[in-house]
């Protein structure tokens, strides 16, 4: 039986059935799309990592907003998925910081929270908002859709 993961990082998993359905979910670096998950709840974090890995994404973690911003600047993830309620800097402030950083303008932010703060998330510049609890299909579909949209934006930028 699988044990609950306490580790902050979960490495890539072998290709799964889900991944074969994955299309163009790759970052500009050519590998699999990288997702930075900012989450304090160990159960949500573990399940989120599991389902995103299963869907073929790379996952990194941050447990607070300050660490998340540092990591985002270092790793340049394709997507940041953040809870609002995280220590040091809340998820909405993190979202604003990411959106204001010229080096992170291609980074998509998904606010994933137990709070119904969709309008505040929109004001903070979030690209999408999802409410908890975690439902894997909803989460993975939203991530895929965001990556697809971002692909279009990139394309629009290239031809402009």
């Amino acid at each position: 039986m699988r044990r609950v993961h306490e580790a902050s990082k979960i490495g890539p998993r072998p290709e799964s059935q889900l991944q074969t359905r994955l299309s163009a979910a790759t970052s500009s670096t050519g590998g699999k799309a990288l997702i930075l998950v900012v989450e304090r709840d160990p159960h949500v974090r573990e399940l989120e990592a599991y389902f995103l890995n299963e869907a073929g994404f790379g996952v990194e973690f941050a447990a607070d907003g300050v660490d998340a911003l540092d990591q985002a600047r270092k790793l340049r993830p394709d997507i940041v998925i953040t809870e609002v309620l995280v220590p040091k800097m809340d998820g909405l402030a993190l979202c604003r910081s990411v959106k204001q950083d010229p080096n992170l303008r291609d980074t998509v932010v998904l606010v994933f929270s137990i709070l119904a703060v969709q309008s505040r998330a929109r004001e903070a510049g979030a690209d999408a908002f999802l409410m908890k609890p975690l439902a894997e299909k909803r989460l993975v579909d939203t991530v895929r859709q965001l990556l697809k949209l971002r692909g279009k934006w990139d394309h629009a930028g290239d031809t402009a």
């Binding site: 709840d41 159960h43 690209d127 908002f129 999802l130 609890p133 909803r138 949209l149």
Partner: protein
């Protein structure tokens, strides 16, 4: 670079989403059902109906895409649960194994300890996307030797895992009232439902009660139920209407059908009022009730006469002895409802009364006698609560009611207390008695009449072949 403005996708989980119980009455009590993505406790001693309640819900919510999981732990063997559920109408064999999956964790739990449950649920979430998880019995987990600190840690991890994911959990258990304070699962539960059984001499009374429901109103108190082949058949407890809207406007006087009595009562009974007629055996309570009923039928009203002592044949004879054709009366709107006091269950009789009033357009009602109702119930306070809310409903609907009550059974404390309580909830009170001065003579006195200048004197009262009359 980015020429388009990015659109914010917003998907908000419905905060008010509900998981229906598969039982419309239970959903009504719960204000629409269990909250989705919640942890719920269904508690009750063995044989109170927890498993049936859970199974009924699972079959109702069966979903081809997202299975419901039923996990047994240490108390109930899985084979028993599965074979028992087949007897119910809601059972559908082809849903088993796919939409509803059973798992016995008994041996895993005794070998590996309580974490086997958490690991199993974690695995199930990742591989099956479950919609509902039932753990039967969760209380049995406490039988695995654990320190109270271990228990808290276990419950916290268990609840944390379930809350992280889009799943609704039900923890069944043979919990007692003391366990609510003792065990940490009650603190994390979003709802607590109690099922109870009270053995009486001839039958059992079963109750469902909501002890906790986060984020929603619910119907308080004990709701009676029966277990039938359809599952739990519930009778939600009546709640007094907040605004008895027509109550004040009903100034119409209704003749009682008893000659001379209307004069004592300032012209008759107010429409929508309740009158308690108290008297010893043979004092004329049933006769007054019948005359009041027949007067209503003659005036073209629908009338419900509820009786616990005389069966319909006996009652029809009593009507015939008043010189009235019982068949004609029944054709013209008299409804006779008889319930044997032995089989009487107050909750089901209340449902029948209500159906008759709602669907039959009943304007007059006689309950002969309310003491029989009280005697049939194990909890007299409940009968009073019922009658009080019934009377409020009658008033709101303009139904004029006579309740009869047998008095003076040895003048016991309970009889007097009953009289006081029933009279308190009635608008009017009429006392029937045997004369102290003339042997064989009856007397009548209007003791109380709300909003009316009634006569207070003790009057003589006769019953002969034409019926009862004030002389």
């Amino acid at each position: 670079m980015m020429t388009e403005r990015r659109r914010t996708d917003t998907i908000t989980a419905d905060l008010g989403a509900r998981v229906q119980s598969g039982n419309p009455q239970a959903d009504e009590i719960l204000g629409g059902g269990f909250p989705a993505n919640s942890i719920n406790i269904v508690m009750g001693q063995p044989g109170t109906g927890k498993t049936i309640f859970a199974e009924q819900m699972l079959f109702h919510n069966a979903d081809a895409d997202r299975p419901s999981l039923y996990v047994t732990t240490l108390s109930e063997p899985l084979s028993k649960v599965v074979s028992y559920v087949q007897r119910f109408d809601f059972f559908e064999a082809d849903r088993l194994g796919v939409e509803i999956q059973y798992e016995d964790l008994g041996s895993a739990l005794s070998e590996e300890g309580p974490n086997a449950l958490i690991e199993w649920i974690d695995e199930a979430i990742k591989t099956k996307s479950p919609k509902i998880v039932v753990v039967d019995s969760f209380r049995a987990i406490h039988d695995l030797a654990m320190s109270s600190e271990d228990v808290r840690r276990f419950v916290s991890r268990f609840a944390g895992l379930l809350s992280a994911y889009d799943v609704t959990a039900f923890l069944l258990g043979e919990y007692s009232q003391e366990d609510i304070r003792r065990y940490p699962e009650f603190a994390v539960a979003d709802s607590i439902i109690e099922l109870a059984r009270q053995p009486l001499s001839s039958r059992d009374e079963r109750y469902l009660r909501v002890l906790k429901l986060r984020g929603s109103g619910y119907r308080e108190g004990q709701h009676a139920f029966r277990i039938t082949s359809a599952g739990l058949e519930l009778y939600p407890r009546l709640v007094a209407p907040r605004v008895p809207e027509h109550y004040e406007s009903l100034s119409e006087r209704l003749p009682t059908g008893v000659p001379g009595l209307d004069k004592l009562m300032d012209g008759g009974l107010f429409a929508g009022s309740t009158t308690l007629v108290v008297g010893m055996t043979g004092a004329g309570k049933t006769t007054i009730g019948l005359q009041f009923a027949l007067e209503g039928v003659k005036r073209g009203e629908r009338v419900l006469y509820i009786n616990f002592q005389e069966n319909p044949a006996q009652l029809r004879r009593a009507i015939a002895s008043l010189g009235v054709d019982p068949n004609k009366m029944q054709d013209q709107g008299l409804i006779l409802l008889y319930a044997s006091p032995v089989e009487l269950q107050i909750d089901s009789i209340v449902v029948e009364i209500f159906e008759a009033i709602e669907t039959g357009g009943v304007r007059r009602l006689v309950i002969d006698a309310v003491g029989d109702l009280a005697a049939a119930a194990s909890d007299v306070q409940r009968v009073h609560d019922y009658l009080y809310s019934l009377i409020q409903h009658f008033a709101a609907r303009g139904v004029t009611t006579i309740l009869t009550l047998e008095s003076g059974e040895g003048f016991t404390g309970t009889a007097i207390l009953q009289e006081q309580r029933f009279s308190y909830m009635s608008d009017n009170l009429i006392n029937l008695a045997w004369s102290g001065t003339k042997v064989g003579h009856r007397t009548i006195r209007v003791v109380k009449m709300r909003g009316s200048a009634h006569e207070h004197a003790v009057r003589e009262f006769e019953i002969d072949a034409r019926g009862a009359r004030v002389t």
